[in-house]
């Protein structure tokens, strides 16, 4: 991944209802961050089907695995996540951006790919991991989910 001279931003997926436990958004602003541009270019049917999957996970479901799943058995990729519809894959990583609600899970989508094989291509997950660990990603997420001010934690 080249140096990052551009502005990296994070935004929640538009049109998806965030729940008290989960949310999904895109990291954008670098040519390698192709999840958001791909999502925008989806046909209506693909877009709707992805939305259904994203909303389902956001609402608290952990399956079906054919729709989305993490990689808990892959130690190096255990924070990675993928949404699937037909050949389309939206890869991202999970994090806990709310200090006041540690159980809240955010899925940060970074990478789109198309695949026709059963096995996940590790290069996608490695790419996701690079972004997960990058300071600009953390800063972009923190901009949308700022740390609560002292004294406001419990309203």
């Amino acid at each position: 991944m080249p140096p990052v001279p551009v502005t990296i931003t994070f935004r929640l997926v538009p049109g998806i209802r965030m729940s008290s436990g989960r949310a999904v958004g895109f990291l954008e602003g670098h040519p390698d961050l192709n999840a958001a541009p791909a999502y925008k270019s989806f046909s209506q049917k693909v877009s709707d089907s992805m939305n259904v999957r994203i909303q389902r996970w956001t609402d608290g479901h952990d399956g079906p695995k054919g729709w989305f799943h993490g990689f808990p058995n892959r130690k190096e990729f255990k924070e990675c996540f993928v949404f699937k519809y037909k050949e389309h894959r939206l890869y991202g990583f999970l994090c806990n951006p709310k200090k006041e609600a540690p159980a809240f899970r955010l899925c940060v989508l970074t990478t789109h790919d198309t695949k026709f094989e059963w096995e996940t291509d590790d290069s996608n997950l490695k790419e996701v991991e690079l972004w997960r660990k990058h300071l600009v990603s953390l800063a972009a997420i923190k901009y949308v989910f700022p740390e609560p001010k002292k004294g406001l934690l419990h309203g």
Binding site: P14, G15, I16, D48, V52, Q55, G60, H61
Partner: protein, 182 residues
């Protein structure tokens, strides 16, 4: 930054796509959890595996009979629920079916409204309804059935402060309402 409307706000087709997909997800989850292959499901339904994939990938094409057929093929039943979540313009999208089935399971899987421990509504008379807080069994007062006999009109005109919760059965809406002190 304004709040964006839910993607199903686009129209009825989008809403139908969402709830049909919700149903397809339930079927796919059952298949995964019970280790049933799509071809086995297809055999049971006397259709081709390709047809099963086609329907589950494009669930908006299902009609009601197909929904029932798929449910029965995985030994489940299906209900159609209308509800009012206060979102009359559908700015927030449909409620996940799992919320309804989860609530039903939490209530002990009742087979009729009589099996519900608590019930809905109120907002008038200065009383509130405690959802699930009281059961007929735990009430020391008059059984709900006797109240039903006694009450000619619904809702009842409650003017005094209730000493204890009172269950009233609305024969018209088949709804059981608990009146309790606010």
């Amino acid at each position: 930054m304004g709040k964006s409307k839910h993607w199903t706000n686009r129209g009825d087709d989008a809403f139908a796509h969402a709830i049909a997909s919700d149903f397809a997800a339930q079927i796919e989850t059952i298949l995964e959890e019970e280790g049933i292959e799509r071809k086995v499901l297809a055999e049971k339904m006397r259709v081709t595996p390709g047809r099963v994939s086609q329907v589950l990938n494009n669930p908006a094409s299902m009609n009601l009979r197909t929904v029932v057929k798929y449910s029965r093929a995985v030994n489940k039943k299906v209900a159609i629920v209308t509800y009012d979540d206060g979102d009359k313009n559908n700015e927030n999208g449909p409620i996940d079916a799992g919320v309804f089935s989860g609530a039903w399971e939490q209530a002990g899987c009742p087979t009729s409204l009589f099996g519900l421990a608590g019930a809905s509504l109120i907002g008038s008379y200065g009383f509130v309804v405690s959802q699930g807080s009281y059961t007929e069994h735990s009430l020391k007062g008059i059984p709900a059935s006797e109240e039903t006999q006694r009450l000619q009109d619904f809702p009842p005109q409650i003017e005094q402060t209730l000493e204890q919760p009172m269950i009233v059965f609305n024969p018209k809406s088949q709804e059981k309402v608990i009146y309790a002190q606010a």
